[in-house]
Symmetry: C2
Subunit: 303 residues, 2 copies
């Protein structure tokens, strides 16, 4: 099946293009980007031009930041093409609801992806937790924004999500593996005095689950979650890639290269089956954190 | 049918109790409140005691602030009773999703009420807009928090919603009457330096709709919305009670006494039909405003 990729930036080059080149399901048939191109692939600078010129391309994958994404997503669906969205699937819940309704009316597939759910040990962690009772949980998601988003001011603009850009990856795993959903009970959000999105957040959920998100961690990075259950301790480390039960390594390795190939394999199945997948639970928890959170002002942040 | 009322404060006395006393469908059979009572009605101070003592009461209506409401709502549903919720139906979207799932599993009715949708001219406004194209809209919702919420510090605490407490009434009308849903495009939120919830907000939606919410309006209060369509101008004034088409009064009066009787009549129908009504669209727009909004700091606010 032919697919077009819109937004040829860092995440497209690092993950989407290699995943598509290795895929048995997909042929990368066009790109759309103001500046970026992929060698050997027809390139466009505007989505409308690509949609008009290439009616043979049935699926479009978007790797744009959340704010400019909606207009392109709507155009793709109106043109009757299947749509795959990087996380988070939009800047607001209402716009994603609108896209889901439109995809439904158009009879096409929409897939709101959560790449962290495809990490190597997530399915095993979910299996292990099934039927157990979570008594306590601790999520620590601390990374260096200067390393992962160098100079990307949009991430700290209003609507840019700040530390929830990586934090939502943790929440996408949490909402996938827990046997029962959690609710947010309280949140503390730290906004740099010169920015409109938080650089750190501490969240308290039901079922004794807490999360500590921080965008200021230099040196080793931390993407860990630990759960105490009625039947032992589980830890999921390295962004969902490594599972430990009662302190012993059970599965996985320090590798994130499998996530995007798995997303594209799932998209191929969804299109073949005429289905959609739009679980907004991680995004709901982020919106709840912004709604419920205490706002603290912290030191200015400069890249 | 017998009903219990939980939370005997200002809104219960002003609206819920008179509506129930005048209702042909309901008998107010018990109250639960730490301090408040209703003459001639059995009173309890804890929800669990009422649920245990009065298995004959099949329906419970909650008039508690959003933050303490969830635990009571969950207990009501677990006890197999039908549940009616004041607006907003919870402090977070995730907790309302959890209540909806629980009601579904228990086979009972849940009704997330929006009293402003029952204002006298809302249905006529919706009928008039049907099939028309909205080109522009302007919502002005300005009231005096000292008059309507005297000394209620919880409304400016984190999760207290601030000016969205009245603003969500406007959004509940907007989402009811528009022929097509709107998305939030941008928001400006004004937080008093000494408070954790906004005292004013300016919202920009798709379809040319804008909203101006302010909690600092002394003197005459304003709850107006005006729409320019492809077939004339419509204004809905006095909180949805008065409809004007092209400047001429069409329907309604300055009266809000009909809203709560209409809510209880609808709850009676939902229970009889074994149905639920939980439209979260107004709450989604508020969560989107907190997620997307620019935060401005304004002068301290004291009651």
């Amino acid at each position: 099946m032919k697919i077009a990729l819109v937004g040829i930036g860092k995440i497209a080059r690092d993950q989407h293009v290699p995943a598509l080149e290795a895929s048995p399901d997909w042929e990368l048939a066009a790109t759309v980007s103001r500046h970026g191109t992929v060698e050997g692939v027809e390139s466009f600078t505007a989505p409308a031009a690509m949609l008009d010129a290439r009616p043979d391309i049935g699926t479009v994958s978007l790797c744009l930041p959340p704010l400019p994404r909606y207009a392109v997503a709507e155009a793709v669906l109106r043109a009757g093409r299947h749509l795959m969205l990087e996380k988070p699937p939009g800047a607001t819940l209402a716009e994603v609801h609108a896209l889901c309704d439109l995809a439904d009316r158009q009879g096409v597939t929409i897939y709101a992806t959560w790449h962290s759910r495809m990490a190597m040990a997530v399915a095993a962690a979910k299996d292990w937790l099934a039927g157990k009772t979570v008594r306590e949980g601790r999520i620590t998601w601390r990374e260096d924004v200067r390393k992962w988003h160098p100079g990307q001011d949009w991430i700290f603009a209003a609507g840019g999500m700040g530390v929830f850009d990586p934090g939502i990856n943790a929440l996408s795993i949490l909402t996938e593996i827990l046997p029962e959903p959690v609710r947010l009970l309280a949140a503390d959000l730290d906004f740099p005095a010169n920015r409109q999105a938080p650089i750190a957040a501490r969240l308290r959920f039901s079922r004794g689950v807490e999360a500590d998100f921080d965008f200021r961690q230099e040196g080793p990075q931390t993407w860990d979650m630990e759960f105490q259950t009625d039947a032992g301790r589980m830890a999921l480390r390295m962004g969902g890639n490594r599972l430990e039960i009662d302190g012993r390594h059970r599965q996985g390795a320090d590798d994130i290269m499998g996530e995007y190939p798995a997303l594209y394999a799932r998209m191929a199945r969804l299109v073949s089956d005429g289905k959609s997948d739009t679980d907004l639970a991680p995004m709901v928890l982020v919106a709840d954190a912004f709604t419920l959170g205490r706002r603290n002002t912290v030191a200015d942040f400069q890249f």
